[in-house]
Assembly symmetry: C2
Homo-oligomer: 349 residues x 2
Amino acid sequence: MKSVPLKRTRKAENKPSEKPQNEDVLLRRIRRALQTTHSAAPQLPLNIGDDAALFKPSPGYETVLTCDWFLQGTHFLLDRHPPYAVGWKCLARAASDLAAMGAEPRCFLLSLALPLAKTSDWLDEFLRGLRTASRKLQCPAAGGDTTRQDEVLINITVVGECKRGRAVLRSGARPGDAIFVSGRLGEAEYGLRLMQKHDDSIDPKDFRLTKHLYPQPRLRVASWLANRQLVTAMMDLSDGLSSDLPRLCTASNVGARIAEASVPCVRLAEPDAKKFDPLFLALHGGDDYELLFTVAPKHAASIPRKIAGVNLTRIGEITAQRNVVVLIDRANHRLSLPARGWNPFRSNP
Amino acid sequence: MKSVPLKRTRKAENKPSEKPQNEDVLLRRIRRALQTTHSAAPQLPLNIGDDAALFKPSPGYETVLTCDWFLQGTHFLLDRHPPYAVGWKCLARAASDLAAMGAEPRCFLLSLALPLAKTSDWLDEFLRGLRTASRKLQCPAAGGDTTRQDEVLINITVVGECKRGRAVLRSGARPGDAIFVSGRLGEAEYGLRLMQKHDDSIDPKDFRLTKHLYPQPRLRVASWLANRQLVTAMMDLSDGLSSDLPRLCTASNVGARIAEASVPCVRLAEPDAKKFDPLFLALHGGDDYELLFTVAPKHAASIPRKIAGVNLTRIGEITAQRNVVVLIDRANHRLSLPARGWNPFRSNP
């Protein structure tokens, strides 16, 4: 066979057909980094790389689907956030949406757009972090899409399952229900502000940054609660309590009253105690990925203080006053709680 | 109740809690535009707007999942492509990945990042195009994620189903199989080049742009073929025949020989006949979203000339020479077919 290129083709494109195409090479690297064995992914009958991914649903379960942006400049800083942490966090925060429904993750799709300059070391570290999260969360990669772009853009789709009819919605809270949160609030915001304050001088391994860089979706807590049908409504705290609690109230057509003294606030390290207000961080800080859930009065006492090592704290009650969210301060004053959490479309941030 | 803001909050953030949050307002608009009735989306038990979407899988089916970037500057031009067409195309091309597997679409998730300036008229028109595609393809919206960004970024996840074990992969082609394509190739590239050539002077309603702006995923053709188990391998032509056929060959561990005279090329309108080469457009043009599929010799005669109004054309045979893709020209010369289709990571485009 004469291996000549088509006569009519343009010269600039005249490359031998044997030369591997860059996009395909990149896809193979991603596939290799994220590929799992069949025993680790029994519901994925197909390797990554066909036109679409296949998923075998479990009988008696519903499929739970979520997708989540993670964008350079908006959600992380390319020069400040370690690529390993970017890889971890993009999957962890998407999986948190499944926890919010009481669902268990099954697989994910990665959509990745990145500049040529980031296709080497940066990509390797990113994939290492993503793979670590994927194993930890038992959520193998099923497929994805890759393209080139000037900035690093990530979108993660996570597929999960929950028993039929058992998904916990935001809309089930009723007046009188007790309001709980998991963990301590404001820890992620504390880390973010330290990073912003210290420019390059803070070590990404500093323990105060852990929650900001490596959030833990509360999957075990959520499935414990969902399996026992103890909660009436649940969501994850991604934008901050002052933004997310009103959303739960709107969905449930109720209001809420929380007690300042009950909110489990971030504990500040000694030198930071004068610089930050823990209550402000706890009420308005985003990115904690803790759970916010409500429990009927008769079940409130059945909620343990800890599940899987994570504290659960009662912070208030659901009220009948639609969309009115009230904070009772330590002097017993009723204050309205304005939303000040993360909102990308706020006009004066 | 005293409606005073928290004492410790910063002044710049001091806004009354009654003021609707912009992101929530935007989400409501998107939800309203894309919401469907329960009868139009029987497998979606939940309205858009909870932490994640719920999907009820059909017994005896597998779930098919794909995600697809559609990015300003890379996949469309904000000042040239009508937002209605952007809305149509982002869903149509993602659904084409399901056609490639022989699957039927069930629902989609929209991830949308956009600048504040595009949240008004542009968004309305985009949603109108997306809704039209959603209805036409019987693929209702299940959920999504929205954020703010300087450029318009779109990622679409489409969820489909195919009967258990019936998904058509890229890897099933065997030497001797006949190679077919649907439709005419190069039509989308023709439209793209006209747009590039004419700057603002070409009317987006010009019929020559139709395939570029409003591609039609070949869902009916694909499910006809898959249901009869007539095809051994299938994929959609998104990057061009010269890029995609080698991918099918690699996945199947085979080679291919196609005949120039058999390739159904784009028909050029009279004034363009001297400016473009239809064969070049057909071999290397991307974005057609036609089907490429292979058929065992004994079934080749069972493939009709048309399915659902779409022509099917036999263009060559699968060979045993791994990864060798050959074009037989009209003078009966064997030429290697170098990949020149769309590849975002090509270093010298």
